[in-house]
Amino acid sequence: MSDIFMIDGFSRLMLIAANAVAFFVLLYSIGYLKGHAKKLKYYILFFLMLIGINGVILTNDLIAMFFFIEIGTLSAYALVAFADGKRELEASIKYFFMGEIASLLILFAFGLIYASTGTFNMKEAALNFPLASLPQATAGIKGLIALLLLIGFGVKSAAVPFHSWLPDAHTSAPSPVSAMLSGVIIKVMGIYALMRIIFNVIGMTPEISTAMLGLGVVSILVGGILAVGQFDMKRLMAYSSISQIGYILLGFGLANPLGVMGALFHIFNHAFMKSLLFLNAGAVERMAGSRDLRELGGLSKKMPVTFVSSLIATFSISGIPPFNGFWSKLYIIVGCAYAGNLGLGLVAVIGSLLTLASFLRVQKYAFFGELKENLTGVKEVPFFMGASMLLLAIICFGVGIMLPYVMQFVVGPAASAVLGGVGL
């Protein structure tokens, strides 16, 4: 068994983030799905998705990783279509087609790794690459593998220009599922698997780094700009997720210690704050009957728990000190400066301002201003939904305050696992 599973700092960080978010989302689901007819199916699919997530994080075998990716994403496709209306089914099918093509590209890349190293085991494959008899051909094959992986996992993590499934899928899914998709799935199935293979199996090269920086910059700007113009709360958050994935790719693409630590910390933070934001959107939709910002207003007095937690999440995601999002973005920006590339740092700052603008819009339209007449009967969310949102908000605030401890015990070991290079 030790050949198939392994654990190091990077997987520990992902395990903490993914399972903590899953716990809070499940807590929220108790309230959200109360009395729902298809509750059982929901929980079965949810736990299947969780099996896939944990399997991808823990595995050391490429075929097992592919299999877990399939388990996780297949349940995600089904969960997106959970409400089985026309829109949901269409979003799910669109996600399905893009995701399946991406899976096949990933599979081809894994097959090429096997063809050139003779093993599917990541540790052994990393050690076998330098032993290949033709260095020239190996470099070419590595380039092809990296290209296939970047496109395949680029679709899975919704980096621009492979992002078109994400806004539809995340908008159509039930809110707790959106929180899992945005908070965990795109990071585990996309970013984690990609970085594990690029850094620890085939090795980082300047070309891959350039490609990742390019994907990151385009994602930050396109996602940020598209988010500002949205009136659908969940759609706005989905576009913002694309932008935050851009930060993570940018940090990893820098491939220096500060950038990688920033990216890892941003994975950790974004998992909590984006799932919190989606849970807030779900609470507003459930209680006020709409998530269109133009139809909302003045909910801060009616829904204090939702209001406070979404305010904290807004501050976190737009990088207001001392919330957690500020520190991870700071690491990435300092990493850009350290790499001598101030232009990238400027893009990161602009992206942060765009995020602030789009989420302040949510606050202004939904929670501040005059209470609309048809919203006077709105009540606060049920206990479990409120508790889950409050706890997530406390984590978002607490991680920012306890920065040194988080960096020392969670992010530091993860960064040394990533930067340790090939061979794990």
């Binding site: 075929i63 592919f66 299999f67 399939e70 388990i71 297949l74 496709y77 089904a78 279509a81 089985d84 209306g85 026309k86 829109r87 089914l89 269409e90 979003a91 799910s92 099918i93 669109k94 399905f96 087609f97 399946e100 093509i101 899976s103 096949l104 599979l107 081809f108 097959g111 090429l112 096997y114 063809a115 599917f120 078109s164 806004p167 539809d168």
Partner: protein, 189 residues
Amino acid sequence: MLILLIILIVLAIAAFESPKYLYSLYALAAMGLVIGGYFILNSSPVFGVIQIVAMAIIVFALKTYLLEKADEKIMPQNEILPGLVAAALVLLLGVKIYPLLTFLPSLEILGLFLVGLYAVVKKRNLARMIIGIVVMELSADLFLSVVGERSGIITLAGVGAVVLLAMLVSMLHEKAGTLDITKIKELKG
């Protein structure tokens, strides 16, 4: 092998125009995989069994969930037996010269993958797009069986995917009344 390659790709293209050729394609690819896996690459016979069962499940799922519901009449009736016979003939020819032409499988894989991708990107009928996915999966199976071992588990994942996709598309067909994506499109992108 060259004949096999050409016939596979022609059949793949034909399957999008008239899905009755789909069964021939399946039969051909399944037998190619079994024979390739068992006789040439010395992999386990279990792999071949899994492959055949997988093909049967996919065909069954497509038939149950989809082909009967498609807008035009594309349900084949008596095409399975001729397809199998054609496939067997081609394979008997193909296997004899297979070891001599080791580079051809890669062409075949690339050709099948591109044909499938073309179908998914260009076709407007969801049933045909699913066949595109199936053809792409065939190419991935073929690739894994050429480079090595343990492709059975991949086939299983692929079967799960196609069956779920067929179910989702059939539900959408019930709601929207059509399989044409230009008529269904509600989402912005």
